[in-house]
Assembly symmetry: C2
């Protein structure tokens, strides 16, 4: 009785841009439901107000601008490149903390958690973002990430360092001043723990393919294998958005967010940002710039996203015969942007997605194609010339 966009009779040919299907994320072992035919439905959801794009270079009310006063009376230094400070409202506090009482029931478990939360300012200019920083300035940000990862990761009570950026008012981030955070914790959090567990499992149950870099102890690395396959796919059919000599940005096969990107080194197995040589570090800055420029150009707006660096939980050295989940890390970054069709239409993870399984309309291949078509000259700089 209901008319569908196309017949429901069996069809000879499976078309990933027409037929609903599921894809498996091997890093998390979770599925995503892909409903490509739904891209055609009229939009009935919320329209967001685009964020204003013309900002002052210095904002006297910004708690991140040089020389300004933060909550609690701290005064920011007059920094030239990056700056770092402990979050005035940290989610976790330094140890040792008190031990939680014994659980009242085995199903109600409490574990203590200590750590430290740092804020990393990317640049003194209030109005810039990674997308508009020069490469040398992005290199300073990478150096700051290396430094916080080294400092926190070597603290005795720290077993995991999560560096991330949360950008955009629609991500709940009210301050446009370019900055990120680093949360250092006494425990490995859920998602990286799951990823590391699956990376280790893959290494123990697969044989490395010929011509593909090897991981820990010469074993197969899930991400080395995956990215080697992706860079070999014919560009206009694949999921690669941009690559340079050492890094590639792609929309993963199992992407949940419409324009989700996985960014990782593909030429060799690299555990952490401390293992990058100079050329790899420059290439990292280069691809960060290219990805964020393409994002901004996609809808001609300052593109909102959450970004996180997944790597070896801390730089603490392992023994050669060590076989911990930490030993199987392959450095990668996730970009999770909520924008769907324009600067003002966002995707919500709600309803079926919260209760059952994430779902997407646009395929990963279609998203990659859209991002490949974007310029690497930022629209705001293009307009001014």
């Amino acid at each position: 009785r209901t008319t569908y966009p196309f017949s429901s009779k069996p069809m000879a040919q499976f078309d990933p841009t027409l037929h609903s299907h599921r894809r498996l994320n091997p890093l998390t072992n979770e599925h995503v439901l892909v409903s490509p035919h739904r891209s055609r439905r009229p939009w009935q959801g919320q329209i967001e107000q685009p964020q204003p794009t013309v900002l002052p270079k210095y904002d006297p009310a910004c708690y991140l601008c040089p020389g300004n006063t933060r909550a609690g009376g701290h005064i920011n230094p007059i920094y030239d490149h990056t700056s770092i400070f402990e979050n005035d409202y940290a989610a976790v506090l330094p140890g040792p903390g008190p031990q939680p009482p014994s659980s009242p029931h085995p199903l109600l478990t409490t574990s203590p958690l200590q750590g430290a939360c740092d804020v990393i300012i990317f640049h003194p200019r209030h109005d810039l973002t990674l997308a508009r920083l020069e490469i040398p300035d992005i290199l300073k940000v990478i150096d700051e990430w290396c430094s916080v990862y080294t400092k926190r990761g070597n603290q005795e009570d720290i077993n995991y360092v999560q560096i991330f950026e949360n950008k955009g008012i629609i991500m709940g981030c009210s301050n446009p001043h370019p900055h990120g955070q680093s949360w250092s914790l006494s425990e490995i959090p859920t998602l990286p723990h799951t990823e590391l567990t699956n990376l280790k499992k893959y290494a123990h149950t697969n044989i490395p393919s010929e011509f593909v870099p090897k991981g820990h102890q010469g074993k197969a690395c899930l991400l080395c294998e995956y990215v080697h396959f992706e860079v070999g796919v014919k560009q206009d059919e694949g999921r690669v958005v941009v690559k340079n000599d050492h890094w590639v940005a792609l929309v993963p096969w199992w992407a949940v967010w419409p324009f989700e990107i996985l960014l990782l080194p593909y030429k060799r197995h690299i555990e952490s940002i401390l293992d990058l040589d100079e050329a790899e570090k420059s290439a990292f800055a280069d691809i960060l710039s290219k990805v964020t420029k393409r994002y901004d150009n996609l809808f001609s707006c300052s593109f909102a996203y959450s970004m996180g660096i997944h790597q070896r939980p801390t730089p603490k050295p392992a023994s050669p015969e060590s076989d911990e989940i930490n030993d199987y890390a392959h450095l990668h970054l996730h970009f999770a942007p909520p924008l769907l069709r324009s600067a003002s239409i966002r995707k919500f993870l709600v309803g079926f997605e919260l209760m059952a399984e994430p779902q997407r309309d646009l395929t990963a291949e279609q998203a990659a194609e859209r991002l490949r078509a974007c310029s690497e000259v930022h629209y705001m700089d293009a307009e001014s010339t």
Copy 2:
């Protein structure tokens, strides 16, 4: 150098309202990071515009109101209670569909997925919600859920029925007309599959406690055990929001959303809504009314949430000695509401939470206390008397 809200020296007493800690969700085996001290930080995030609360009883532009025309030219019947129709933009389509081609690489797997998406209108009145429906009207909604679960769940190619409601503009749901959905699928989606797997695992590795209802084959049921413990906790210290003779609503120990609720029958092990007797069904309608009224009264607004019913994947009968994950279901509903501190401040799952682990400031006990303090007379009805 940074001043914390309190000293970082070891303290003798662990206080769950002061000290950061992690709690484990045994249904998903995932953690949540609890940072109760952060409730004191000033709000810096996005403020949402509250949704208008005065709506017409009939809206000529609403595609769910009786007699109106939907997308594709379908005309809604002049229904008296509930109404159901197939979604004009279904996320999955009826089978059999074409078989996906073989995978180009073991890490890129595609599985076909078929099914049907139904829309369930709760009531003809455009301006009502579950919170403002009379109990007999809520019973009609439950009957409609039973009917779609029976019809779809008995289709040969359907192996899972997900009934859910997504309510509120800030959840991306643009139409306030009271309605929910049901997605019926050829596969069990990620989250319920994980829950069922953990329920089965619990049954196989635990002995049922004395005086607690038993699950499948007399084995221990994780939810029977958990809820039995919770209803026994002294009310003003616990997580129970409201209970009646058969059902209880509580903020689970491991809640991620600020005012998340788990709603379930606690007197006996019940697999699905088809297994409810008349008294249990009436008690279900009663507690749905009480929970949604308390939600609306919390911030005096039409409270936004996603709700999902988790139960036996389909009513297909099992053999007595069957040992599938399906056999371990215990009927329960999740309410995931994004509102945090008022009708206009929402919680976003972003940054660290997307990249590492969900985090909350308010403890589950504090949230339950706030919800216990709410009236069961809807604020709009209280005002009018």
